[in-house]
């Protein structure tokens, strides 16, 4: 009875795949730069969840180490990204990705 509901790694992997897809949709659909950036964070989190579930399933601590590095890199990205966004907002009140059309051509 319970065996049918035993949690396998694929449950975690599917949860991660769902989060990744939600993040990807958000990135495509939203125009607000800060929210788009949050969607990227969702995707990175899905990646981390995948790594940790594999670390568990494979009995390999390497997956957890990878997550550690992903976290640090994500932190660096956030710092730089918000720096860029602040620099842009200083020049204009409200920025959406559509404003980037200035550069298209």
């Amino acid at each position: 009875m319970i065996a049918a509901f035993t949690i396998t790694p694929s449950f975690y992997l599917i949860l991660a795949a769902i989060l990744f897809s939600i993040g990807a949709v958000g990135l495509l659909v939203r125009r607000n730069v800060i929210v788009m950036f949050m969607c990227v964070e969702l995707m990175l989190n899905a990646v981390n969840l995948t790594f940790v579930s594999f670390a568990k399933a494979l009995n390999d601590v390497g997956g957890q180490v990878l997550v550690f590095f992903t976290l640090v890199v994500a932190a660096a990205e956030v710092a730089v990204g918000l720096g860029i966004i602040v620099a842009i907002f200083r020049r204009r009140r409200d920025a959406t990705a559509d404003d980037l059309r200035t550069l298209e051509g």
């Binding site: 995707m43 990175l44 995948t50 790594f51 579930s53 594999f54 990878l66 890199v73 990705a97 404003d99």
Partner: protein
């Protein structure tokens, strides 16, 4: 139980790291604006010294269970990155100095990106490759937006940033699946895994990883950020992005395909084939229509990226190392040509105060020296002998002939057609330089060129001429890179 650490193997990285810290401290304590730049340049040259001693020593050093390997391949590319970084510094000195930008910080970011590049040439596992790739990219997000009072530069940076983080998320997801399937992050183990029977998920994992790389090397259809970012960023940064940072992506791609995914040819070859064909064709067609020289070079570098992908895409059918050698030789030559071309653009823009191609009309009559070198770079990009560019194209086509399968030959034909198309827009600029009358009202004032800029152009011209006439020089480097040490 402590691992043996071979400090000689890390010496280039250590010297560069010390330099970064020294630049930061020097910038903090002195008002002398030239000092950080001098330290940066000295440090980059200093990092070349251990590269040479390691090359003389010649033995392959494998550390941390094969995660970090110093072999001829990594030494050749480390040397390339350091030289490219030095030339970028030469281009930046006056541009950054005159523009009232933050100088010390600029060099810190540039050198950190360079550090990522020299690490990536030795990295042999997914974690090191990912971390090094991010170390290359994240500082360049900031550098692209360095002219922060310029809307174009802001947006160049934002666009590059969003695409950059998206691509790392996609690439990481692919890597996580590779890790889960292969049960290791070290490329050697992934190679073993790929030799056996792999589930369909592995192909998806490879696909996601390669899509991430395609963004980084701006291959079509993941290229749309490149022209805007190149145009908006300060020009020396554009030179750096289009040469060093792009080459960093290619080196990682080469390493990961050659040492990791290689046995599972069906999963990566079709993807690279499509990327190569699309990049060459669309890059060249878009370049034909550009009126801005920086945008033209941006599309041209997308197309050149496609040419670099050609030998990679056919590598599965090439016996021996010819395809890998072709990639490395193409990267080395492309670096020299493109750095030179951007140096010439900077030099020309100092006179014409514009990046429009039409403003270059008659430039050859007023500034013959710059125009001659500019023409050399452009003709070399077009692949005309006896300039180095022909040899890059030659090794690429040789790899295609070695592969000698139908798909490879089709790709070769596409590459040949594209070489012809490319000739039109490169020669169009050269014609402007020499045969058009200067437009009325264009004052070609001629203040003296900064020494660094002239040196960079001279150096790149010399490399292109020497390699064009004696291609054995780079051919040998390509051979050495894949020798068993």
């Amino acid at each position: 139980m402590n691992p043996h650490v071979d400090f000689h193997a890390f010496a280039p990285e250590i010297v560069l790291t010390v330099t970064i810290v020294a630049v930061l401290i020097a910038d903090l304590f002195t008002d002398d604006s030239k000092l950080p730049a001098r330290i940066a340049a000295l440090g980059v040259l200093g990092s070349l010294v251990p590269v040479l001693t390691l090359a003389v020593d010649g033995q392959t050093r494998s550390l941390f269970g094969g995660a970090f390997v110093v072999d001829p391949f990594s030494l050749v590319l480390t040397g390339f990155f350091l030289v490219a970084g030095y030339v970028t510094l030469l281009l930046s000195f006056d541009y950054i100095g005159e523009g009232d930008y933050y100088q010390g910080e600029f060099y810190v970011l540039l050198l950190t990106s360079l550090l990522g590049m020299i690490v990536i040439s030795s990295a042999r596992d997914l974690i090191s490759i990912f971390v090094a790739l991010e170390t290359i990219t994240i500082p360049t997000f900031v550098l692209a937006g360095w002219r922060k009072h310029d809307t174009k530069s802001n947006e160049a940076s934002l666009k590059y940033f969003l695409i950059g983080v998206l691509s790392s998320a996609v690439m990481l997801y692919g890597m996580s699946l590779v890790f889960g399937l292969a049960n290791s992050t070290v490329l050697v183990d992934i190679h073993k895994y790929a030799s056996g029977h792999t589930p369909a998920l592995f192909a998806v994992a490879v696909f996601l990883t390669l899509v991430g790389f395609a963004f980084k090397v701006s291959a079509v259809p993941f290229h749309f950020w490149a022209p805007d970012t190149y145009e908006g960023a300060p020009t020396p940064v554009t030179a750096f992005l289009s040469v060093a940072s792009k080459a960093g992506g290619f080196v990682a791609l080469l390493t990961i395909v050659r040492l990791g995914f290689f046995p599972s040819g069906n999963s990566w070859q079709p993807i690279l084939w499509v990327l190569a064909a699309a990049s060459m064709t669309l890059g060249n067609l878009a370049a034909l229509r550009q009126t801005n020289i920086v945008r033209m070079l941006a599309y041209s570098s997308i197309a050149q990226g496609g040419f670099i992908l050609v030998p990679l895409a056919v590598a599965g059918d090439v016996r021996g190392n010819a395809a890998w050698q072709a990639v490395v030789i193409y990267i080395l030559i492309y670096g020299a040509m493109n750095l030179g071309a951007f140096a010439a653009v900077i030099a020309a823009a100092r006179r014409t105060r514009s990046a429009e191609i039409s403003r270059l009309a008659g430039f050859g009559r007023t500034n013959p020296a710059i125009a001659v070198m500019f023409s050399v770079f452009l003709f070399s990009l077009a692949g005309i002998p006896p300039l180095a560019g022909w040899f890059a194209k030659f090794v690429m086509f040789r790899a295609v002939f070695d592969a000698n399968t139908t798909v490879a030959v089709v790709l070769g034909v596409i590459a040949a057609v594209n070489s012809v198309i490319a000739f039109f827009y490169y020669s169009g600029v050269v014609r402007r330089l020499w045969f058009d009358e200067p437009a009325a009202g264009v004052e070609l004032s001629s203040p003296r060129l900064p020494v660094g800029l002239s040196a960079a152009m001279g150096l790149m011209t010399a490399v292109i001429l020497v390699v064009g006439v004696y291609p054995q020089f780079f051919a040998r480097l390509g051979e050495i890179a894949f020798q068993r040490g």
